[in-house]
């Protein structure tokens, strides 16, 4: 859905905040609805919007809601700096600006008939939650599904209710780990890679998707390759500074790619030659 020729692609559309939910001490989820009678945003899992706090600035944020049916645009945001902190101050009824959706999607259709491994680090679970919704909506289309999620501490776990609900299902393998925890934590401690042995899949017939810090993705990939996965079976979401989201400002470049339009989701074999290089 690209804008008409006269419309500036840099003009945000007003969206009303309909719901605010605290996930953790610094992470929150916003539910947004287009102001007036504008149609809800159609998007694919993995896509992002440029979210604008009036007069404060605009930042790329992944869509973390359900791609099907939902009229709300859902964003889960970690407050780290100027704009995300301004977004954190939003209350029901406030109006934000939205441009998008932009970027490429996770390969949920390509994964049909296959086992699926999702590995998320920190806020990287947000875009993979959209994938989970899509997989669960057509559960019968997929083989085994494993969701491996790592975050800093038990207090940093986002979507806790949903994770617990999914963990209770017999047709899902949901594993959570934290980097460090107090003595009251009964779960796993360690990097996401430590969860991999618990994921069962057929290496010849699996699609894996990763979103999180580059080191986490690198080690997860290496571990999965040891278990027989090929580069073509793995997908990852890349992150760079973004000022436009539409391939014009030049900020998000990674070698020949504009992450905002050629990504953020890439098949690993496309970016393998760049991935992990320093300062690229």
């Amino acid at each position: 859905m690209s804008p008409g020729p006269c419309e500036s692609p840099m003009r945000p559309q007003p969206y009303v905040v309909r719901g605010v939910r605290r996930e953790t001490h610094d992470v929150f989820t916003l539910e947004l609805e287009p102001a007036g009678d504008a149609a809800p945003l159609a998007f694919g899992p993995g896509q992002f919007t440029m979210l604008y706090a009036f007069g404060m600035g605009e930042v790329p944020i992944s869509i973390s809601g359900d791609p099907a049916g939902n009229t709300m645009l859902v964003h889960t945001i970690r407050a780290v700096g100027t704009v995300t902190r301004a977004l954190e101050r939003c209350r029901k009824g406030d109006v934000l600006g939205v441009r998008g959706p932009f970027g490429t999607c996770w390969p949920v259709d390509e994964a049909a008939g296959k086992d699926v491994v999702l590995a998320a680090g920190g806020i990287g679970l947000a875009p993979l939650r959209s994938v989970m919704y899509r997989l669960l909506a057509r559960r019968e289309r997929y083989g085994r599904i494993a969701l491996l999620y790592g975050t800093r501490t038990p207090e940093d776990i986002v979507y806790r209710d949903e994770l617990e609900e999914w963990r209770g299902r017999l047709d899902l393998n949901v594993q959570v780990t934290v980097d460090r925890a107090g003595s009251d934590w009964r779960g796993n401690v360690g990097a996401v890679t430590t969860l991999l042995p618990r994921a069962e899949f057929d290496p010849a017939n699996t699609v894996a998707m990763f979103c999180g810090p580059e080191v986490m993705m690198r080690f997860t990939m290496l571990a999965l390759m040891k278990r027989g996965l090929q580069a073509e079976q793995m997908y990852l979401s890349m992150e760079r500074n973004m000022k436009c989201g539409i391939g014009l400002c030049g900020h998000c470049q990674l070698g020949p790619f504009f992450i905002c339009k050629d990504g953020p989701v890439f098949p690993y074999d496309r970016v393998k030659w760049l991935f992990g290089r320093e300062e690229i």
Binding site: S8, E58, V95, N241, G247, L248, C249, H251, W273, I280
Partner: protein, 383 residues
């Protein structure tokens, strides 16, 4: 108007080659001004030839030329009264099409919501008077960035579609030029309404003028001119041939994309990092560099907001900032990004090199870093 390379109007008009006297160019400026155009072109300012408003040919750097080298630029008298006897200066036409600062929109808070204010100012209509062939290619390259992709910059497009282009073929090779290597000059072959070749010397001074569009051909009706004689065309051709033979440097482009992609880890990047000040002069003067940032601001009471779009430069730390630090924190990684983008990534992104061989980045680099030299060093390191 010439819009885009290969536009139908360029191909359909009956191309003519005529001769115009210097006074005829004043007439051209006058006629175009009367049609509502703002005529901009080369003029002297603070010891350099820059682009600004022209009222007549007297505003051109008449009788001046430039001496350019890595990190050096000096003006000198030519000893004749040539109107275009110099090469390109620190400005490029991108400052008109892709202004260094632009307000994209204004909005005001209205109740709970906000409202975008309607656009008011109409974009200016420019005559670009004295566009060099390499600069035509630079404009064609920025067209691909701003109006040939999935998303279009409406401000760029409306400015671009309304320009009238008077190109000038180069009778003088600048001290840092390498358009021949980049196949962009010294003769204009597309993207202009009129293309002039200035012939000056032996008591004569005239312009051989080729039409490049229907609009260019039409305007000749209002300008004193006559059909060009064979020997006049030959004299102009000889001049351009001489210029091509006097290129100050070369850039071997064969396989350059893969060459650079193979050499992300070359020690030459450390070497150039030892010299580069990350001042961003090179990106500032480059006619194809298009990177910009977005700044959102409000007035004091916070009810009015606007979005501005200033140029931005891949040599700054902020450019690649992610929460926690910059992706490219070293000078090495920033120069590598700039040159690899220019000479390699651009080819994947826009189907063309990002360099037109104008030499500006070499002349205006305070420490004289030379992109042709750096590319050569990388190539030779593989031998």
């Amino acid at each position: 108007m010439t819009t885009v390379n290969g536009d139908m109007t360029e191909q359909l008009h009956d191309k003519r080659t005529v001769v115009i006297e210097p006074a005829g160019l004043d007439r051209l400026i006058e006629v175009l001004s009367r049609q509502g155009y703002e005529v901009v072109g080369p003029t002297l300012r603070d010891g350099a030839i820059i682009y600004d408003r022209l009222a007549s040919t007297a505003d051109l750097p008449v009788g001046w030329t430039d001496e350019q080298g890595p990190g050096t630029y000096r003006l000198r008298r030519r000893g004749d009264n040539a109107l275009f006897g110099y090469a390109v200066g620190p400005h490029s036409w991108k400052k008109f099409l892709f202004p260094p600062a632009l307000t994209l929109w204004r909005a005001r808070q209205a109740g709970e919501s906000f409202e975008m204010e309607a656009e008011t100012a109409a974009e200016p209509r420019y005559v670009f008077f004295g566009v060099r062939p390499c600069e035509l290619q630079a404009m064609e390259i920025q067209d691909r960035v701003f109006m040939k992709g999935a998303h279009i910059d409406p401000s760029y497009r409306s400015r671009r579609e309304n320009i009238f282009v008077v190109a000038v073929n180069c009778g003088h090779a600048g001290g840092t030029c390498f358009c021949v290597s980049m196949q962009t000059g010294p003769r204009a072959t597309f993207g202009h309404d009129l293309a002039l070749t200035e012939v000056v010397g032996n008591g004569s001074h005239y312009f051989v003028v080729e039409t490049g569009s229907g609009a260019g051909a039409e305007i000749l009706d209002d300008i004193p001119h006559r059909e060009a004689r064979d020997e006049e065309i030959a004299a102009a051709d000889r001049l351009l041939c001489d210029t091509a033979g006097r290129m100050s440097r070369e850039l071997e482009t064969n396989g350059i994309r893969d060459l650079l992609y193979r050499n992300y880890e070359n020690p030459r990047w450390d070497d150039v990092a030892g010299r580069c000040l990350t001042c961003a002069n090179c990106t500032f003067v480059c006619p194809t560099c298009f990177c910009h940032t977005v700044e959102d601001v409000t007035d004091l009471d916070g009810r009015h907001a606007e979005r501005r779009r200033p140029w931005d430069f891949c040599f700054t730390a902020d450019f690649s900032y992610l929460h926690g630090g910059s992706v490219r924190s070293s000078a090495k990684s920033r120069y590598r990004q700039w040159m690899t983008h220019k000479l390699a990534a651009w080819i994947d992104q826009f189907g063309t090199s990002g360099c037109v061989g104008c030499g500006r980045c070499i002349t205006w680099c305070p420490v004289g870093i030379d992109i042709t030299e750096e590319a050569r060093a990388i190539r030779e390191s593989e031998r």
